[in-house]
């Protein structure tokens, strides 16, 4: 007993592989039976739909389960409009990221899959995904630059950004007015505002139930003019200003001006709309829910700069990736180019008709009606001016774990930021060395 069970990590993985293999086999069987061009109608309930109009090779495409209603049908409709291939839309609920990494090692790998901020560096280095640079042509300059840089490695682009998401600061106008607080334009003003807005059951600021330990590390470093990694992939936080920035977060936590233990974490708007906090760092995707709940009683702001630093908005995107070992790599590349570069109307529909996102191409974002006025227009402006990618391509999961551990100790345990960052540096240096070899 004692010798078998600790290895259940391996067991789980094997099971996962077997399951995904089984799923792939089931998918193949379904494809055999459904060569009538009408499969979409019957298979949708099972989470798989096929474009009906296409001829030519069959392409498997994977998407995580979007929360917004109508998204799956939209993708199936897009696929049906494509004439050069039959594109199957696979909707994957559950732990999407880990399912993808595990399946990419098997024959069940999809031809096309979306992945948060493009493929991981390990996927690229182990040759699981293909370079899509040549699909962009002149349009490269039209995509949000921070995003393109994020999915570029050694001069090659590895994913097409599908849609842009952002995280920024949202505040309740009425609560600020009542307390006589101006929307904060600098870190000092933010700290002062959060303190002043904290009274009774309302806290000044909500940065997540962990006090921002998991979310705010990057934004705080950018406020100080630094980053996790520099643009050229070197350590970006080896600077006394980094410790000062994280110290500011530590102080807000210690002063109890941050909301903790909310029923929903930072990615939902509840803390703000239910009046638990006056300001919240959250996703742009919440804007429709927020305006439904509190009308126009809100404003958007970038995460403010410290002296010498930068205002910043965190941006990210699901990127369309093409597997390198698939049978129809060229056909898959043609399809992702068609959908995510050429079909600008579909990109606007995808970004704004179901949820609230920004098309990844600047010229397309300018054309979207929903983004032309009010706080939405303001948010789009902030994204263009102050957008920073969430993390660098070389910032591996191991770097992230080490950084999260340090952030938790700094924020919650009150550990000295400089000493904690020094520990992270050792781990990151080793990872960068490994990735460079």
């Amino acid at each position: 007993m004692s010798s078998t069970s600790p290895l259940s990590t391996a067991l789980t993985r094997r099971r996962l592989l077997t399951l995904s293999g089984g799923l792939a086999a089931a998918g193949a069987l379904a494809a055999c039976g459904g060569n009538t061009g009408r499969e979409g109608a019957t298979a949708t309930s099972a989470g798989t739909g096929t474009g009906t109009g296409g001829s030519g090779p069959t392409l498997n495409s994977w998407y995580h389960q979007y929360g917004e209603k109508g998204t799956q049908q939209a993708l199936e409709k897009f696929a049906a409009d494509y004439k050069d291939a039959q594109v199957k839309v696979n909707w994957k609920p559950g732990d999407y990221d880990n399912t993808v990494v595990a399946t990419l090692q098997t024959d069940g790998a999809p031809d096309i899959f979306e992945y948060g901020n493009g493929p991981t560096i390990d996927m690229i280095k182990s040759g699981q995904v293909t370079d899509v640079t040549d699909l962009f042509g002149d349009t490269k300059a039209d995509f949000n630059k921070a995003l393109i840089d994020r999915v570029t490695y050694q001069g090659k682009i590895w994913a097409i950004p599908q849609v842009l998401d952002a995280q920024l600061l949202i505040y309740r106008k009425s609560l600020l007015e009542k307390a006589g607080v101006q929307p904060p334009k600098s870190m000092d003003e933010l700290v002062a505002a959060a303190t002043k807005l904290t009274s009774g059951k309302v806290k000044g600021l909500f940065l997540g139930n962990d006090g921002g330990a998991g979310l705010m590390g990057g934004p705080m470093l950018r406020s100080a003019g630094l980053d996790l990694l520099t643009a050229d992939g070197k350590i970006g936080f080896d600077d006394p200003k980094a410790a000062a920035a994280l110290g500011a977060l530590q102080k807000m936590y210690a002063d109890k001006v941050l909301l903790l233990g909310a029923p929903n974490d930072w990615f939902a708007p509840d803390a703000l709309t239910q009046g638990l906090a006056a300001m919240q760092f959250t996703g742009l995707w919440n804007l429709p829910d927020i305006s439904k709940a509190i009308g126009d009683d809100f404003g958007v702001l970038p995460w403010p700069a410290m002296s010498g630093g930068k205002d910043n908005v965190t941006i990210g995107a699901y990127g369309a990736c093409v597997t390198a070992k698939g049978k129809n790599v060229e056909a898959a590349k043609k399809f992702v180019k068609w959908l995510w570069i050429d079909q600008t109307d579909k990109q606007i529909e995808w970004a704004t008709a179901y949820g609230f996102h920004v098309p990844a191409r600047n010229s397309v974002a300018d054309k979207a009606d929903k983004l032309k006025s009010g706080q939405a227009a303001e948010a789009v402006k902030l994204i263009k001016e102050d957008g920073f990618a969430q993390s660098h391509m070389l910032w591996s999961p191991k770097c992230q774990t080490a950084f999260n551990d340090a952030m938790s100790r700094i924020v919650k345990d009150g550990a000295a930021p400089a000493a904690e960052l020094a520990k992270v540096k050792t781990v990151v240096e080793a990872e960068l060395k490994r990735l460079a070899s």
Binding site: S2, S3, A10, R14, N209, L260, S408, R409, K412
Partner: protein, 319 residues
């Protein structure tokens, strides 16, 4: 006797065909494999092969692959890395302390409930079921109830509502590390889930003790605590040893309730992090680092085996 021997000679002399002999007497062998075979095969494919494979992988630089090339052999490098990884060593240390605490507590609580339930004259079946019921609850479901409704950090959470009755301040149970309230959340969830199961084991043990022993002891004046100490405890020893070992292994293998209570979108915090959770993020997350994951799993197995052996030795000498 002699007749059986004669029958045996008779059959061996007749030498039935090979197929017949393979099926065994009365097809016993055949039926053995019909029943055991599928499970044995499952065990082989889903347990033994993966174990051996992950031991094999632990000697390789196996990132994003389960079939590393021979030139990626790194010998004991992964073991060196894992033992030098402060986060992993720290989680092993934390869980040694955790085991030292949770094993006796669960043991004492389940034994106490078992004795109480076994002594109850009225509605014994009811009490037995009530305490056993949580065992049927999924760890994930229990963890979510603990996290989101009982120990939710908002004033409307169950625990905070109770505190409010006494005029105490709202506590964000899972968001603070000082004091470490998260242990209260985790340990209460774990005890709720596990005590019932071990209680049943103890009840089974208690029922095997001959009641006449208690009667004899009572005549000699040993009742209550004295009877418990000199009759119940010694006679429960086989059950106790089994329960202690199970608890010990369970403590080091903690995963479900920890993961579901403490992990967030950003990952798992650096405190109360079970070794398996750390390995999960190393080997199975986006890291896909099976070499280090395998090495860590082997080290963890070694630790459990060592502690269990030491434990067995301790009990033998105590006898």
């Amino acid at each position: 006797m002699s007749r059986a021997a004669a029958a045996g000679q008779l059959t061996s002399a007749a030498r039935p065909p090979l197929g017949r002999r393979l099926r065994g007497r009365g097809d016993a062998t055949l039926w053995f494999w019909v029943f055991v075979g599928p499970f044995f095969l499952g065990l082989l494919i889903f347990i033994y092969v993966p174990i051996l494979w992950s031991i094999y992988l632990s000697f390789f630089e196996a990132r994003n692959t389960v079939s590393p090339a021979p030139d990626q052999f790194v010998g004991l490098g992964n073991y060196r890395d894992m033992l030098g990884d402060p986060a992993f060593v720290d989680s092993l240390r934390t869980f040694a302390v955790f085991a030292a605490f949770i094993v006796p507590v669960t043991f004492a609580l389940s034994l106490a409930t078992a004795v109480l339930v076994a002594r109850t004259a009225v509605a014994q079946a009811f009490f037995r079921s009530v305490f056993f019921l949580p065992t049927a609850c999924s760890y994930v479901v229990a963890a979510l109830i603990w996290k989101m409704s009982i120990f939710s950090g908002v004033p409307s959470g169950a625990a905070n509502s109770v505190l409010a009755l006494f005029g105490a301040e709202t506590i964000p149970w899972l968001s603070v590390t000082n004091p470490p309230w998260y242990w209260l959340v985790i340990i209460s969830a774990r005890l709720w889930l596990q005590v019932g199961f071990y209680m049943i084991l103890f009840i089974a043990g208690l029922q095997r003790i001959n009641p006449t022993l208690y009667e004899a002891a009572a005549i000699d004046g040993a009742v209550g605590w004295a009877a418990f100490r000199s009759i119940t405890l010694p006679l429960l020893r086989p059950t106790s040893v089994a329960v202690l070992l199970l608890l010990l292994i369970n403590a080091f293998q903690a995963f479900d309730e920890f993961f579901n209570i403490l992990s967030t979108f950003a990952g798992y915090p650096p405190y109360a992090r079970p070794p398996l959770v750390y390995l999960f993020y190393t080997a199975l997350g986006q890291g896909q680092d099976f070499g280090h994951g395998g090495a860590g799993a082997v080290i963890l197995t070694g630790v459990i085996a060592l502690v269990a052996l030491a434990f067995g030795r301790l009990f033998r000498t105590a006898d």
